[in-house]
Symmetry: C2
Subunit: 340 residues, 2 copies
Amino acid sequence: MNRKPATAAAPSRAITKEDVARAAGVSHITVSRVINTPEKVAPATRERVEAFISSMGYIPNMLAGGLASRRTRIVAAIVPTISHSIFAETVRGLSEQLSLQGYQLLLGQTNYSEEAETGLVEAFIGRRVDGLVLTGVQHSVRTRQRLKAAGIPVVETWDLTAQPIDMLVGFDNHAAGHAMGQYLHRKGYRRMAFVGGEDPRGLARYAGMRAALLAQSAAEPVHLVMPMGSFLQAGREAICRLLALQPGIDAAFFSNDVLAAGAALECARRGIAVPQRIALAGFANLDIAPEVLPALTTVQISAHQIGLTAAEMLLTRFDGDAVTQTVCDLGYAILERDSA
Amino acid sequence: MNRKPATAAAPSRAITKEDVARAAGVSHITVSRVINTPEKVAPATRERVEAFISSMGYIPNMLAGGLASRRTRIVAAIVPTISHSIFAETVRGLSEQLSLQGYQLLLGQTNYSEEAETGLVEAFIGRRVDGLVLTGVQHSVRTRQRLKAAGIPVVETWDLTAQPIDMLVGFDNHAAGHAMGQYLHRKGYRRMAFVGGEDPRGLARYAGMRAALLAQSAAEPVHLVMPMGSFLQAGREAICRLLALQPGIDAAFFSNDVLAAGAALECARRGIAVPQRIALAGFANLDIAPEVLPALTTVQISAHQIGLTAAEMLLTRFDGDAVTQTVCDLGYAILERDSA
DNA sequence: TTGAAAGCGCTAACAC
DNA sequence: GTGTTAGCGCTTTCAA
């Protein structure tokens, strides 16, 4: 199946603005203008230069351009992992919106490690990205220092805080958890559990739910921490563990829909009536939420919109305009379906 | 919730190698060495310089470095969409492996448009990426020309071809479809359908399945094309359409597990016995495949490994070594479970 | 409307 | 072990 052993290619020398300029009989700056500000070039000259650009297959070196202009037209995004569809959606939104304006997206994954985030932030600053999108509002001191020193536009996402580094688009995780806690309590459930990971946002949702229950003098919810990984399987295991450890439990709020869907699947398999025996609630309103049986009651948020909005904020800044609304609260909504 | 209107920050002037050099009383080249080849610097000098780098918070400008050295340490990946977990897995593998060596990932999405791919390739060449990872083996002439002219290392993924642009890691989609066709036929199913999108790889799987059935003198499979979007829902709709249009149908092979899972969920909902009334087979062995009821028979491939391998190939090239195995066939395997 | 000069911050090649 | 000299390919500012 193999072909010739491939060695490093020999890029003789890439073609430059000078080459095009020489061929077209103008100076390189004119070529530059044809590309960046065509309206400032005489139509005749422009057409001739364009013809040469095209026939010679000239592609401007944006590295050199970026160095000279101090604008790279690159935005970096840092997410815990691209494997979780919520973050994938945010990244998709970002990338789509950014590419409309000729910006490119550099992607970094932290795997939920703050240390990794710090490293990525430094790497991206080193690449002189025009803007940075961070997940969450919790960052190392070093990250904050670097960001401040670099002075580049930053958008934090997926959460809310009173002291954003710069801009922010997200929703109140604590309030969302609180709302679900109230909802479940109102529905008559009294012995609840929260199932999730240990990321700050999941923890905030748990805290919100807990606060809601305590405010109603209801029992404190069981907090079951599951490892991040295959959420579906984790959800199945979680429901088994919950039922075994706390037979009296009557409702479970999961940190995301996939976890909840796994639980629903397991209940179906074991003939456990949902929501009669145990109610299930998810988070995010992912594709899977309405599809399992029973359809999942969940908290609706918009992962994709987070990416879109973050991109818009950044783009506004890049245009030199001031972003008046530096904090964008996208909100959330309890979506009642059949599982709780 | 708003704070001060945010305006473009004033990055007075980023600190450079010169600044550090002056402070440490050495020349800028020594600072450069401390960063890039510390072993070539006297320990005493090194430590002093390192102290200044750290205390001054110096972050090298990789744009300038890249321009001078002609190496950006950036790899670009182009996928149809990051929303489909198979591609997200590939991107995750790529990013993980690359970041181990200090490389960063630029991400582009085509939304299955060849034209978009062409544009992205040009943009990435303009950014002088060190390597490029493409999805599939079908590309515009222009893309091929540009890539050839640029002479940068390229890895095509997710398919196989006799004439790769450069390097290749994937598996034979036609053969995988063929194998599933044979499997289903062997299992006794005779009136089959294929459900998928119109991407080249899905089409190849359909063609393979069709060839297998025709070789057995079995009936030609029905080919149902579903729009890309919410796969779960598309899977549900597909099974409804199939059963309505072709009541005699006894097996359906879906272009991916999510589609198949949607169908399984709908069958469960409507009390349609799987695999007795209709057998269901998926593709990719995603997390969801073993979790639905009945567990999905599918074709196992490794999306994550594709990313890992592509990164390794590229990294080998970057090290100046020749990649002897330019084509890596990761293979596939029929995974028999309960649905077919 | 077009061009010349200067420099963005770094690395490569060669000297000392 | 360390420094000097030249660029890398582009944009910016100013001049014509």
